[in-house]
């Protein structure tokens, strides 16, 4: 394993023996990196605009923390980029096991205290094991499937993959965090699809996940508010007084988007963004702030940036010299796609409200670090494609 800083110009002089076309440091996907940081910077601005009126003492409280998270996340990403993903693959089982332990611990703490637990409170930082699970489950699933050097996924291996994904998913559902569980399921479907699962397998996963979610509802594993959000999604004009908070959250979010129009109200000019109409807007509904302030133009541009990122990841999946790299990229691709779709969809009123953050844009350290790590993984694949 060699590592040199990726800022270096290629072939900058004779005698530069460490440098060769195959040197990973020379093969960073700069487009993806620029897009990623552009999204992060935009996210900081959006967080500021959506949260500055909410805390009277310090309008910069959230954005300051987000900048710190971004720095920490960058360090994590540089580490992931610098190591060979094969090296990570060898440690995938260990990481996966640790994740399962953390998740199980969280569920047990939750059972003992009688409260729903999604995070470990670590003082300045709340660790969300579900975010960690996205990374490690992807790693272990890709590694497991890549071991079978075949075009098709055999049935036993499919079942094995299912179990690998199922274990953390069930634990996440029990937290209960249906949003994160849906990301895990989407990731599994994406990876399995690319790995060559038969359509009927995919159908089976869909059916299984539906049954699991259904069972969670029946078994009262989900929160009252999650039930409410689903009911609101199914009947957006409901007059049930208990559902009014949830109704207005969505309604105000849609109104904010409509208010933006084509050109937007302008930076810091959005009446609903400035108001207190949309609870936790900086984490759950940042896209409403984008759409209100920057309109269709801004919203489309942001979606375009995500489109570019997705395209680059898809391209790297294609370029990967091995199956593991392809699968990893496919997993990151699906997760990013699903999460953007889910978050923007709920902002626009076409998806039920879950607590899923918008990657890079939403406030939140766990999510940001996870995505930086996963993008680091994708870069790692790209950097080592020539090897």
């Amino acid at each position: 394993m060699t590592f040199t800083l990726p800022g270096r110009r290629p072939d900058s002089g004779l005698g530069n023996l460490g440098s060769s076309p195959g040197d990973p440091a020379r093969n960073v996907d700069w487009t993806l990196l620029v897009v990623q940081y552009a999204l992060t910077v935009i996210g900081c601005f959006i967080i500021y605009s959506a949260s500055r009126t909410r805390i009277d003492s310090d309008p910069y409280a959230f954005v300051t923390r987000q900048v710190v998270f971004a720095i920490v996340a960058s360090v994590v990403m540089v580490f992931v980029m610098s190591v060979d993903y094969e090296w990570l693959k060898e440690r995938a089982r260990f990481l996966y096991g640790a994740t399962l332990v953390l998740l199980a611990l969280l569920v047990m703490v939750g059972l003992v205290t009688g409260q729903d637990r999604i995070t470990f409170d670590l003082g300045p930082f709340n660790l969300q094991p579900a975010e960690l699970a996205k990374f490690t489950t992807l790693l272990v699933l890709a590694a497991y499937l890549a071991d079978e050097r075949s075009d098709e996924v055999s049935y036993p291996r499919f079942v094995g993959g299912l179990l690998l994904v199922g274990a953390p998913t069930v634990l996440v559902i029990m937290q209960p965090d249906l949003g994160s569980a849906s990301v895990l399921i989407a990731m599994a479907m994406g990876v399995l699809l690319v790995a060559g699962a038969k359509p009927k397998y995919i159908a089976l996963i869909s059916a299984l996940s539906l049954v699991t979610v259904g069972a969670a509802f029946v078994g009262r594993f989900v929160n009252q508010y999650q039930i409410e959000r689903l009911r609101v999604f199914l009947d957006q004009e409901t007059t049930n007084p208990q559902l009014q908070d949830a109704v207005y959250q969505v309604r105000n979010s849609v109104r904010a988007v409509g208010t933006g129009g084509v050109w937007g109200q302008g930076w810091l000019q959005g009446p609903l963004t400035n108001g207190r109409d949309i609870p936790v807007m900086w984490a759950d509904f940042p896209f409403a702030a984008v759409a209100e302030q920057f309109g269709l133009v801004g919203g489309a541009a942001l979606l375009g940036l995500f489109g570019v990122a997705l395209a680059r990841i898809w391209r790297i999946a294609h370029l990967s010299r091995d199956l593991l790299g392809t699968y990893l990229c496919a997993g990151v691709f699906t997760m990013l796609l699903w999460q953007v779709f889910q978050n923007v969809g709920m902002t626009l009123g076409i998806m039920p409200v879950t607590g899923l953050p918008m990657p890079f844009i939403s406030y939140g350290g766990s999510s940001l670090i996870t995505y930086f790590a996963m993008f680091g993984l994708v870069q790692s694949v790209h950097m080592r494609r020539m090897r």
Partner: protein, 737 residues
Amino acid sequence: MAADKRATRLGVLALVGLVLLSLIGVRLWFLQTVQADELQERVTASKTRTVQLVPERGRIFDADGRVLADSERVLTVAVDYQLLRRKANRDEIFRRLSGWIDVPVEDMEARYQSGRYSPFLPMPLKEDVTEEVAAAILERSEDFPGVEILTESRRVYPYAPHAAHVIGYMGAITAEQEDDYRAQGYLSNERVGQFGVELAFEELLHGEWGRRVYEVDAANRPVRLLEEIPPISGYDIQLTIDLDMQQYVEQALETSLYDRRQQLAPNPEVEKPDGTRERMDPAQPEQVPFKAPAGSAVMMNYDTAEVVAMASYPTFDNRWFEAGLSGDKFKEIFPVTDDPDQSILVNRAAQGRYNLGSTFKPFVAYAALETGLLGPNDYHLDQGTYRMTTVDQDRCDAGLVRCVYKNAICSGTGRPCTYGYVNVNDALAVSSDTYFYRIGEEIFAANQGAPVLQDMVKLFGFGADTGIDLPYEFDGTVPDRELKKRYAELGIITEGEGRGYYSGDNVQLAIGQGLLSATPLQLANGYAAIANQGFLYRPQLVKAVFEPGVPDSDRIGFADLSQARVHQSFDRPELIRQIPFEPEIRLPIVAGLRRVTAPGGGQGLNSSLTGNYHRPTGENLFYDYPASAIPLAGKTGTAQGAGNYPWNDSSAFAAFSIDESRPYVMSAYLEKSGYGSQAAAPVVKCSFLAMSGLAPMDPVVPSDPLDLSSSEAAPDQRLADTSCFASRGGTGLGAAE
């Protein structure tokens, strides 16, 4: 080949990505272009509903900071009116609530049917529930759909009924007032001051409304709070009233009236025109009890024009107006009556329309001296009767004009008193009527009928309201040509009487009779101008207006005025006019008045005609008046009532301190109670003794809770110690003169 298949599968993934991104792209486009206008409209012009927040009313204090009027929080159980429209709903809600709020279902139904309540506001079902009941209902809100607990405030009068006429009371906005109050921003269900200071200072006491503006959706449900402006409480007002003195004056007034009701007035035999003799009123027995139904008294400081006490009887407890009485109960307590003797809700001190009788004489004396008609040492020979000199004798003999006027009957002789030679000092001391009859006639003749006497007495405030801060003050009347004409048009006097103003009218005016009318407040204020050498002030009822929120004092029932921030102070009284009042004119008048109330006796007059000693009218009553008490100069008055029957005589008295370090003036007027010295003078005497610290005063204590089962407007209150009523030759209370 494997790579191809993988590319195909990756292609599927890319396709899924494209589809999902397109989906949200289209949705975004749809919302931001097609639906944008509609959604935007809902933001900018979203419907709002404003809820007015009623401020807390300012408090009213007495001069020492006693809290005379306060507001307390009352919890009211109310139900969404819309919900009650359906009979089935209504029955169910009433049935469930009935036990909790202890109101029978039928009563609630009757309330609903009464139509008194706005369909846009929650309908109150039970006022003044306890915190426990309110909490219990709120905890079970799912059992009581549409039921709300409203927080309202209610006026409390901790010392009621003291000073009830001054403080006044609150009431609902009446139909006549509605437009006016609406224009000022009042809510239709607000209560406003309807009498007394509560009415006069409504604007200051009320405070500023706050408001909550809600954004509402299409179904009028509140979506969010857009704006909240808290209400600003009303200003607190400090009155000049001293409640200790107020209570004493009220008690003295009521004690005297009660006493007079036990007394009898003679119904003497008189000679009829046909020569037979029979009783004045044949329908009545030999002696007729005094009715003594009503009276009033005012005490002021004549330097500052501050009203120290102002009592009116019959009085009432102003808490009745906050008790939520039914109409029937209200009529029982405050009967609708045409008999002015019985009206309760009238402040007789400022609204009474009274003949002043002899208490008016000092002002007539002033007119004579000031115009130079008489000098202070000019003597008039009082022969007991006065025959007018300027009227054609034939007209007198023909009975067309009344030309002969008599003094009051002297008890010793049974004939009109004959005082002999009297100057202005003597005439006031013994109350010689003929001296003033003569002034009345001569001042009229000397000025060719011009209203000079009227103009002179008007300098002292007669015929115009004093401008005190109380509603419905009576202007008073000083008779002249215009007044008679107006009264004739109104049918108060006959058309013949209204044709002109004659010297006979002026003769009547000179002794305070005829069409002269004034309030006890005007009388006191006029005497104040004599006392303070000619400064006629607007009487002050308010000492200061404080910024909202004067804190309570450690002393129960008091506010801590030392912590009050003054909004407006009334240190200096408002001067209405300065009356020219040279000492050579003023001193003889004051000297005459002083003789009326001088202690020890012997200040009277030996008639130069008969040699009889004539006592000043206050001699017996003030015989034992202590030297250390506030020294007084005063004048009694007896105003004749219907039929000139003795039992219809109203008793008047006014007096002022001649000690300028204790500058107080007081008047009292007791209807149908006898001579001035019998009923009104004792009230004034006792009050000055109390003011001097020489008569025991009951401590003022917060009142007991209102007895809702009672049907009295106010309970009796009388002096515990009536020794101040004592007079020489009598036994105090009940002594006739």
